[in-house]
């Protein structure tokens, strides 16, 4: 072969003279504050977090367990509690599934193509973030309620949406719509479409390219979006409260049940259900931290 030998990466940085580090010895670096200032600031931050975040969390669990573990478990095994847990899981499951598909499609469209109305679409995706959840719920009442646009037609055909599971799923889906798309759009924009173009020029079809190139590149971001979407879906109160109708054992999700139990002075039961939501929050928090590290790594792999 008649090729010019290209030497592998040479690490020549070792013998470069290192600038003297002791030039400013004895003086503090300009950005370092005196010790007492640092202590006060850090102390304040810790105290604030303890009072406003840590204490309530501990309180939830201590209240829930105040009458013993047996009482705690029986409160959770109550049929209304079980129904609420089941409904919450169903609503979150469906809305996360829908938003996963919508989110990937929307992010794909926005990041990879130029089309008229793109800005409008981005704004629309953000709408659920900027509208109060109560208003979101009311919109569904206006659409599907007895006096709403579709209400009379739906009633005539015996379809129950409002004050039933479908409305709860719809409201939850609406409120949690932005999470997946919002997470993916910047990620996909940053990654560009060159890897997809490379895959296509190598003979891969659209599906193959999506499964083998696009999806692996966005998987951590996607998981992150799903995680936040799920946390919000399970914890959503306002929008669901408006459309649920609060039928006991039927249309109460966990957050709604917590409120009802609390209003009926069933403190331990209320906190028992709340403790599950708090646990969900903690798991989400940990998973989120792990995923953020992964996404960071994924982007570093991209450096060129």
């Amino acid at each position: 072969m008649t090729m010019v030998a290209t030497t592998p990466l040479r690490r020549s940085g070792r013998d470069v003279a290192v600038p003297a580090l002791d030039a400013g010895a004895g003086r503090r670096a300009a950005h370092t504050e005196p010790a007492w200032v640092r202590l006060v600031i850090i102390g304040f931050a810790i105290a604030f977090l303890t009072v406003f975040v840590g204490l309530p969390l501990i309180l939830v669990f201590s209240e829930a367990l105040s009458k013993g573990i047996a009482f705690y478990l029986s409160a959770l095994a109550d049929s209304e509690a079980l129904a609420a847990i089941q409904l919450t899981l169903i609503a979150a499951g469906i809305s996360v599934g829908l938003n996963l598909v919508f989110g990937v499609i929307a992010a794909w469209a926005i990041a990879k193509f130029d089309f008229p109305g793109k800005t409008l679409l981005i704004t629309l995706i953000d709408l659920p973030f900027s509208v109060s959840p109560v208003i979101s719920g009311l919109v569904f009442v206006l659409l599907f309620g007895a006096q709403g646009w579709f209400g009379p037609w739906l009633m005539a055909h015996g379809v129950q949406i409002l004050f039933a599971v479908p409305a709860i799923v719809l409201a939850t889906t609406f409120v949690t719509f932005p999470f997946v798309a919002r997470e993916l759009i910047p990620l996909m924009q940053e990654q560009g479409q060159q890897e997809e173009e490379a895959a296509i020029s190598l003979g891969a079809g659209g599906w193959t390219t999506f499964w083998r190139v696009t999806l692996p590149n966005i998987k951590w971001g996607l998981l992150y979006g799903v995680l936040l979407c799920n946390a919000r879906a399970m914890g959503e109160f306002g929008a669901v409260s408006v459309v649920s109708g609060h039928i006991r054992g039927e249309t109460n999700t966990m957050p709604l049940l917590v409120e009802i139990l609390y209003n009926e002075y069933q403190m331990v039961a209320a906190f028992a259900v709340a403790s599950l939501l708090a646990l969900l929050a903690l798991v989400t928090l940990i998973a989120k931290t792990v995923l953020e590290g992964r996404i960071e790594q994924g982007l570093q792999h991209h450096d060129h």
Binding site: M1, E195, E197, S201, L202, H301
Partner: protein
Amino acid sequence: MTIEVRNIVKQFGSFRALDNVDLRVETGELMALLGPSGSGKTTLLRIIAGLDWPDSGSVAFDGEDALARGAAERHVGFVFQHYALFRHMSVFENVAFGLRVQPRKIRKTEVEIKKRVGDLLDLVQLGWLADRYPSQLSGGQRQRIALARALAIEPRILLLDEPFGALDAKVRKELRAWLRNLHEEIHVTSIFVTHDQEEALEVANRVVVMDRGKIEQIGSPGDVYEHPASAFVHSFIGESIVLPVDVQGGTVRLGERRLDLVAPASASGPSKLFVRRHDVTVGPSGSGVFEGAVKAVRAFGPMQRADVVLSNGHGDTLIEIDAPRDHSLKVGDRVGLQPQRYRIFADA
């Protein structure tokens, strides 16, 4: 495989990226598309690859309509400026990708794929990196892997978009020679895009000079350098002394001074005179078409470079000339300058 591009027009909004481009590439050629940014060279390459579509015109491979096929069916190897390696796959899997996505009936067995990828990695001399990930490679290594990946599908045509644009100067030089040698070995019809004239002239056997969506000249590296077809090509390739002249009835004037030069019939009115610096002979006053006074002399290597103020009718024009080291030049000397070769193009 020949490539025949005809009447290609591509518009991005109000910007005309390609304006009626015709181009024919012969089998086994290594052709360079050279031009400044925005000249349309990358757009043309992407249209040939099937990554972009022209508004009108045709592209044919060996006489067969290429626009009827998508990028995936064109069998074109494409190398991107920023490599576009699949970041979640090892080097081996990157190169194997094109083989793994082939239709089931013609797909190679795992053993065959292993063999082929191994051969390709040997070809780019990076077999020892098979298990690494793209992020662990240097820029030059990534680009060679990208090339191996493009070659895996045994492309009929190889297209390279600014292949060395993101690399530092030393690696660029190495890869240039390497690419030329590789092409001699595999001989696949290849087009590469560059804005670096040295790269184009050194690597390609034919150069296409583009500007503002049009082809200015097609020719061998020697041709485009020695016989530039337009003012743009002359100023874009190689360094030139450029003087604004006026041509009336075949008489060339620089300001008030009449120059004993021959203008082509096509030049009339305000024009530009182009001379390569090394085509100017320096002699005593009165020995050349131009008269001037030496303003400064800088000596380096075998040459010396001098700033000379030309005396013409109105105002002074400063030009830079080269002279052999042994030629005595002092600040303040009056010199005569004779262009041995020159070109005159009418202002557009």
